[in-house]
């Protein structure tokens, strides 16, 4: 487990609370053999005591404070390289400039024969075709459901449920923070700044909200969808990005008069773009609060919209769990044939 923030800890809590069910229903008995946080690592090849790891983080700020298993000297790369494991769960923070250090973590995991489940959008937005090729080459799986829509199975829906059909376009609200801000502006008739401050207070927006409000987060997700679902070899540099900073209260009120609202919508059509767009309040995409919504337009099956929470530790952890189960089942199938 690389990264011991809210997603990693949520996953550990699921492992603890649903231990018997996971074993019984899915034959899944996960052992976390190493955890890396910002200050070091904890390693136990037999499986770490997760309750202890959770409390260490709370009390001492790092899992490396564990006397017996703590390794403050080891970096994430050392751990990925040297520890024996089936899979690496890579939940380190997103960097969309160069994808690092997540990109190196994933490459190292592949090189040492480990499957990867990641929630990190940076490496994928920059190098998804390269990473899927590298995974194939090393005969391991790369899964990243949690990167788009958190727990909402947006990627799986399009990839698996629309098999055989041809996707014409995809459009959607891919960022919960901006949707919350825009919804608040619409409902309470407040300005962008007021809504942002409120969102920050409630923990819906980061102290530095650039990734969200300037559209980068939505663009990264758009790129992942374009590559994975539509086989378009694009990177974030191919997306026209416009954030919501310039959306005024007046804009929203004007839209409201016409029965419309303004949402930050990402579109994969001829080109890729993310921009504030006026849509009807009856459009299935017109969801409120921190929700995400994605509409798939396919040639035969028509339009479908999938709606769900687009952020949150537990939600994202559920996507990681899904990916791990998928990998487990794939390996098991291979071994049994």
């Amino acid at each position: 487990m690389v990264g011991w923030g809210v997603v990693g800890q949520s996953l550990a809590k699921i492992f603890l609370s649903r231990k018997r069910e996971l074993a019984k229903k899915y034959g899944f008995r996960p052992r976390i053999v190493a955890i890396v946080d910002k200050k070091g690592a904890a390693i136990n090849q037999k499986g770490l005591d997760l309750e202890l790891m959770l409390s260490l983080k709370k009390e001492k700020g790092t899992v490396s404070a564990s006397g017996q298993y703590g390794r403050p000297d080891m970096s994430a790369l050392d751990v990925i390289e040297s520890v024996e494991a089936e899979a690496v769960v890579e939940v380190s923070p997103t960097n969309i400039e160069d994808g690092e250090p997540g990109l190196s973590y994933i490459k190292t995991a592949f090189r040492t024969g480990k499957h990867v489940v990641t929630t990190n959008k940076g490496p994928l937005a920059l190098a998804l075709p390269a990473l899927t090729e590298l995974a194939d080459h090393n005969k391991v799986y790369l899964r990243f459901s949690g990167t788009v829509g958190a727990g909402t199975p947006v990627l799986e829906f399009a990839k698996n449920c629309l098999q055989g059909d041809r996707l014409v376009s995809v459009k959607g609200i891919l960022n919960g923070t901006t949707n919350y801000i825009l919804s608040e502006m619409d409902e309470k008739h407040i300005t962008f700044d007021e809504a942002l401050t409120a969102a920050q207070k409630l923990g819906f927006a980061e102290a530095d909200p650039t990734m969200d409000v300037d559209g980068y987060d939505a663009a990264a997700k758009l790129v992942i969808m374009a590559n994975w679902i539509m086989d378009r070899k694009v990177t974030i540099k191919d997306v026209n990005i416009k954030g919501i900073r310039e959306v005024s209260a007046q804009n929203i009120q004007d839209a409201a008069k016409k029965g419309c609202t303004i949402k930050l919508i990402g579109v994969i059509g001829e080109t890729l773009k993310v921009e504030p767009t006026q849509i009807s309040k009856h459009d299935p995409l017109a969801v409120d609060g921190a929700l995400n919504a994605v509409t798939f337009v396919s040639e035969s099956a028509g339009e479908q919209t999938i709606i769900g929470l687009g952020a949150g530790g537990v939600e994202t952890a559920s996507a990681v769990l899904r990916d791990l189960l998928d990998i487990k089942q794939n390996i098991a199938n291979k071994m049994m044939t």
């Binding site: 490459k107 592949f110 390269a130 899927t132 090729e133 590298l134 080459h137």
Partner: protein, 469 residues
């Protein structure tokens, strides 16, 4: 700004004087506001010498190895001296050459100690050819006042699997890495000089690309950075309508499609390996074959969509010598499914490649064309495996034949091309022994007696007025 990838082969960088010439070509184009990436082969002959040295090293012939090392060092130092005037630049190149040859000597010594030459160590040894030429070429470019940097294929970002000797490309990884490493250099106006032919695995082990070699590297780089064109500099004017030794009035072909170029290279035009065209074809990046000794000549342009249509569709006529025909016949083959498969399977197991196949609809016989030097082995194998069974009566061979191939995508759908070909041949009193045309209609291949080969080529060349284009 246009970006051009230029590949220079071993004969273009055979010595210091030639390297100066190469540097000048690069500088001239750079000054036309082009971004240039150079892909360079080893100095002429060096790759073969390295292979030889590796084999000698394996036998423990340390005398040979040390003599080889000395000669290699002297040749490269002499090349540095001739290619780079500036003292500081020459000194830098000299240091790199010395260090790398020192490293090579250690590798060869190691091979000698172990007494084993694995494909992996062989790749490492071979890579020194390009690793020695690239810094010299880069130095010569700097000598003309440009910025330049030399990189190995691996450093540039070319990633492969670990199938040493003929490594498989990881194209998406390669594209990502090349973009990341090469584009910033181009933006700064630097000329990257990349070693051709060599690459590396994710564990940083040196690999070689095998067939296609440095040309392959050039088209890979071109595809990755979405270059405007890839220029393959060689010592001929481009692809020709026929071998000028046979047809003195043969002309350079100005433009042809990737498909045609592939056919042409398969049929013996030495310019490029079909595999090397693949990356450029996929991305639709034009490839130009140019003559380093007449840089004013625009050479042959290979493109996805041709602009100029040729009037009668035929682009070139080539000849493949040193082949033989085997004919397997027997009434029992008629209507017996799997007969052809058996013939091919037997030959395949013996590693005998079949160049051309023809079977009449009566199915009473199948004719195959193979390399002549494999004829005895092929006949023996077929006789042992198939004679004495009911369905095969006879296996006969002819070894005094050659394949003549007439190529051109424009032949497709134009009636009468075949008739013109065979009428022209018949007028010369030449007998056609066997004919094959793929349904792609890109080429018509047929067999004539080898003694009639050259005359056949000339007759067709004249019939389609290939000398007038």
């Amino acid at each position: 700004m246009k970006n051009i990838v230029m590949k220079f082969g071993g004969s273009s960088v055979a010595n210091g004087k030639k390297i100066c010439h190469v540097a000048k070509i690069v500088a001239d184009n750079k000054n036309l506001d082009c971004g240039v990436v150079v892909v360079v082969s080893a100095l002429e002959g060096v790759t073969n010498q390295l292979i030889q040295a590796a084999q000698e090293a394996k036998k423990g012939n340390s005398e040979y190895v040390s003599k080889f090392k000395q000669e290699l060092l002297e040749r490269h130092l002499k090349t540095v001296k001739e290619a780079i005037k500036d003292k500081q630049l020459a000194d830098d190149a000299k240091k790199i050459v010395e260090a790398r040859i020192g490293e090579l000597q250690q590798v060869l010594t190691g091979i000698g100690y172990v007494g084993e030459l694995t494909p992996k160590s062989r790749d490492t040894v071979i890579s020194f050819g390009e690793r020695l030429s690239a810094p010299i070429v880069s130095g010569a470019i700097k000598d003309l006042g440009l910025n330049s940097e030399h990189l190995t294929g691996g450093e540039a970002g070319i990633a492969t699997d670990s199938n040493f000797g003929e490594a498989g490309l990881l194209m998406n990884v390669t594209k990502f890495q090349l973009k990341k490493n090469i584009e910033p250099l181009l933006k700064k106006g630097t000329v990257p000089v990349v070693t051709g032919f060599i690459a590396e695995t994710q564990n940083k082990e040196t690999t070689t690309l095998g067939r296609g070699g440095s040309d392959y590297t050039a088209t890979i780089v071109g595809a990755a950075i979405e270059a405007d064109e890839v220029w393959i500099w060689t010592d001929v004017d481009g692809l020709m309508t026929a071998d000028p030794k046979i047809v003195p009035e043969a002309k350079t072909i100005h433009e042809l499609s990737f498909q045609e170029a592939t056919e042409l290279t398969i049929f013996g035009a030495k310019a490029m390996h079909p595999r090397a065209l693949e990356p450029a074809r996929k991305e639709g990046i034009p490839v130009r074959i140019r003559n380093v000794f007449s840089p004013d000549n625009t050479g042959t342009l290979i493109v996805k969509e041709q602009t100029a249509k040729t009037e009668n569709g035929v682009k070139a006529v080539t000849i493949v010598k040193n082949v033989a025909v085997i004919t397997v016949s027997g009434a029992g083959m008629v209507g017996a499914p799997g007969t052809a498969a058996k013939v091919f399977e037997v030959l395949g197991k013996e590693n005998i490649n079949i160049l051309m196949i023809s079977q009449s609809v009566s199915e009473a016989n199948i004719s195959l064309v193979i390399q002549r030097n494999l004829l005895e082995r092929a006949v023996n194998t077929l006789e042992i495996a198939l004679l004495g069974r009911d369905f095969i009566r006879e296996i006969v061979s002819e070894d005094d034949v050659c394949v003549v191939a007439v190529l051109g995508a424009g032949m497709k759908g134009i009636p009468g091309v075949a008739s013109r070909i065979f009428t022209a041949v018949a007028k010369e009193g030449i007998n056609v022994r066997m004919i094959a045309q793929g349904s792609s209609e890109l080429n018509v291949s047929f067999i004539v007696k080898e003694a009639d080969g050259n005359e056949t080529v000339r007759a067709i060349h004249t019939e389609f007025k290939l000398n007038k284009k």
